[in-house]
Amino acid sequence: MSEIPAELRFTRSHEWVRQLPDGSSEIGISDHAQRALGDLVFVELPEVGRSLSVGEACAVVESVKAASDVYAPIAGTVVAINDQLRQTPELINREPYAGGWLLRLRPEVPGEGSGLLSASDYRVFEAQS
């Protein structure tokens, strides 16, 4: 099991958010989510410039087993997507909290989103789900 980096915040639908020094927010799916999905084979990412509201489906991660929507944990505008995932979707399996990030948003409202779980609260939530 990957260590959950303490600076991450989580949704109950297993996305994570990391605040980057430049004010943008990086988004990915949790280790728990990638394990449940199994080997990822395709990833669909949004266009840069697209504006997302909280909870909006913004990406699709598809494994050998199933396809799953990824929901925006916070509102904002897409400023970057992880192009490496097109060729190597397995990065999400290998490094869910690092090289397997999906996209970066410029948040509509600076700071962390409301209703997100801390890393330690997510660990508890994940153990129950």
Binding site: R35, D39, V41, F42, V60, E62, V64, K65, A66, E90
Partner: protein, 362 residues
Amino acid sequence: MGRQTCLYDLHCALGARMVDFGGWDMPLAYGSQLDEHHAVRRVAGVFDVSHMGIVDLRGARSGELLRGLLANDIGRLRQTGKALYSCMLNEHGGVIDDLIVYYLADDWYRVVINAGTRESDLAWIASHAEPLGVQVLERTELAMLAVQGPQARELSAALLTKEAGSAALALQPFFGAQLADWFVARTGYTGEDGFELMLPATQAVSVWQRLNAAGVRSCGLGARDTLRLEAGMNLYGNDMNAVTNPLESGLAWTVAFEPGDRQFVGRSALEAIRARGSARKLVGLVLDERAVLRSHQRVLVPGGGEGEVTSGSFSPTLGRSIGFARVPSATGAQVEVEVRGRVLPARVVKVPFVRHGRALIH
């Protein structure tokens, strides 16, 4: 909690992700199912298939029983140990199960049936066996391991005595033999060479561990599904069931209409369907888009008509999605499939998609 095979604790100890399959708790994958798939295509993998039923039919009239119960003709089995793949049908020609039967002696056949249909198959077989005085013996004391891949036979035979090992390596495809206390069959469900080993359940854990130590990778049902799909092999319950017949399931080749005087359950229904022409057929599909075919997706046929994906997944060997679909018989080389709200073009192709590690589709 479901039923467990004698390897359950070992699967858990090996870190397997367990899932329900036909009422059994079975390993889906031990790590990456893609790596497990490639291991079988390139080296060797071992699968626990002990959830399948091993049933021995004993008695002078066991051959007569199977000639009446199976759509394929066991009269074709003339050499000891020879195996035959067949469907077992109901009166409407629907598939009750697909199975493998081994001819061991004139009064002894061994049948391997699916886990999900095990109880209903046994009841069905027993009801026909009783009037013929044939004994139906479920061999629950045996475990079954499928060892598959280009190096599977060599690595498995090395665990046997020298004599039994050479006899195992001398088996022709689709033959089995009792070698010491193992029944070794050169059969499988992956499109690779290999063995299916039926051995005392008490030996299963140690044999599995010795196979692992020899370089045979533990593989779960996830890899088993992508391997069989690439190999163009049907999965009971997905690609055919009690309300679909072999002629619309890509299994016409397994129905022996000759000799014409052999009466088997489902024959008259199948003959009627054959005479008017089957309305549907099962075809292979390849998706060139970056998406994955899944069972029950809708297939749209140009010029009208619809079908349904019966099995679909990502093909690790081809790097894109493949599947089977049941479509109108007039369907040509191109269809469209509704995949998560999008309509995507798919090519209709001949199966298998992959054989002995080589892609047959481009």
